[in-house]
Symmetry: C2
Subunit: 236 residues, 2 copies
Amino acid sequence: MKKSLNRTSLDFPRPLVSVDVVIFTVLEDALKVLLTRRPENEEEPFPGLWCIPGGFVDVDRDDSLQDCAARKLQEKTGYAAPYLEQLASWGSASRDPRGWSTTHGYFALVPPPAAKTGDERAEWCDADAACKKRLAFDHREIVGTALERLRSKVEYTSLPAFLLNEPFTLPELQHVYEVVLARPLDKSAFRRRMLDADFLQEVGTVPGAFGRGAMGYKVRERERAAIFPRTFRAVE
Amino acid sequence: MKKSLNRTSLDFPRPLVSVDVVIFTVLEDALKVLLTRRPENEEEPFPGLWCIPGGFVDVDRDDSLQDCAARKLQEKTGYAAPYLEQLASWGSASRDPRGWSTTHGYFALVPPPAAKTGDERAEWCDADAACKKRLAFDHREIVGTALERLRSKVEYTSLPAFLLNEPFTLPELQHVYEVVLARPLDKSAFRRRMLDADFLQEVGTVPGAFGRGAMGYKVRERERAAIFPRTFRAVE
DNA sequence: TAAATAGTGTCTTTCAGACAATATCTC
DNA sequence: GAGATATTGTCTGAAAGACACTATTTA
C-alpha cells in the first residue's frame, strides 16, 4: 500500500508552517509597508535581505493562526487591535530552501506611527517600491497580493478609516483614499458616500491649522469595515 | 534563551498541514456541495462522520498547495480543470484532536455530474443543509465561508458560468444565478449585463425542447471570471 | 393557431462625477 | 475683509430594475 494512503500513524514528513504579515500605513502622503531584515547569520536563508514580518507558528504559544498574526503585529508595531485580515496562503516545495513550507499571509492596517520606527532592522518602505524590490522567499508576491487586495477593497469599503488616528475629518479620510488609490476623488461624491454608509460617528469639531475647522469622526464599529453599494468610478 | 527564539535548527514541533476542497455544483435546481464520509476506523478522528474532501499535504507528491487541491478535486470528481480558487486557511491547536493543525480551504465549481456519484461514501448535499449539518473538524465553518464567498462573488462576477456544461444558453445561465442567489432576477437586465461584460462567445443556436431555440454560448477565457461594474440589486 | 420560450425596448430609479455656490474659520 | 478650507446643491450620465412588447419555435 502506498505510504500516502496509510497515514493513521501521523509519522510522515510535515511542511514548515509560518505566518507573515503585510503591515500598511500612510506616511508622508504615501502608502507604506513595513519591512524588516533577515538575520545576517549565513545559516539562515536569505541572510540580511529585506522581508515582511513573520515567522514560524509556535505550537506552544499560539492558539491559532490569527493569534500568531496578531502577536507578530504587536511585536513589530505595538498595536494591539488594528485591522487585521487574512490574505491568502502560499505553500510549495520550493518557496523555502529549508524544505516544503507553507505561509499564511495576513494584512494589517495601522495608523501612522508617531516616530520613525525605533528599530534599526525595520523600515517603512513605499508600497509600490516594495513590490519591485528583491525580498526574501516569495515575499514580493505576498506584498503584491496584499497591495492588490487593499486597492481593490478600498474601491468599495471603508478600510482607509483604519489608517487614521481618531478623530479624523472627512478631508483627511479623503486624502488617505486618494493616496491609496493614487488618483483624485471628487469631494462632494466622496462625502455623500461616506455619510450615507452610516459607519461614522460625529465626535465634535476639530479646528484646522488654516481655514474652517472640520467635523471630527470616529468609526462606529471598529471590528468591520463598511461596504458601499458601488465602487468608485465604475467606468473608465 | 527561549526555545521559540532559537529556531535555526528547525527541530521544533510542526503543525499538521492539510487541504480541503468545497466542491459546488447545481443539481436538480439546487446548489450542492460534495460531502464524503470519514473512515469508520475508530482510531481516526470523527469516524463515519460527513466531511468535505481533503487530506494531508503529501510532501513527496504535491509540488504546491494548488496542486494538492487540484489532485483532490480530480480524485473525487474526475474533473481536471474546472474553476478552483483559494478560499482561506484555518489553523489552531484545537481544530484536530490529533494536534495543532492547519488546513488550506479551496472552493471549486464544476458542471453537473452526469450520474449520481458512483461512490458510496460521497454524496451531493444541499449547500444550505450542509451548513447546518454536523461535519467533521471545522468543516461546517469552511463550507459556510465558501458558500458566503460564492454568493458574494456571484453578485458581481460570471462565476456561475463554471457551473454549466458548454454550450449553455442565457436562460440556463440566469437559472443558475437564481439558484445560487436564491432569488429571481430580471431577464432583460440580466441579458444586458452578461452580453455587455463581453466574456461570452456565441457558438450556434441550441434548439429547445419547447418553444423557441436559444443561442448557445461558451466562455471566452476559461481561466478567469468576468467582473461586472456593479452588483445585482444594489438596493434593498 | 395556441402555448411556450427567447429576446428587445423603454421608462424609472439610484448613485457617482462634475462643478459651482455657500459657510466658517484664522489672520 | 482676504485667504483658506469645509460643506452643500444641482445637473448630468451610466447602469440596474420593472415590465410590456415582439420573435421564433413546436405541437
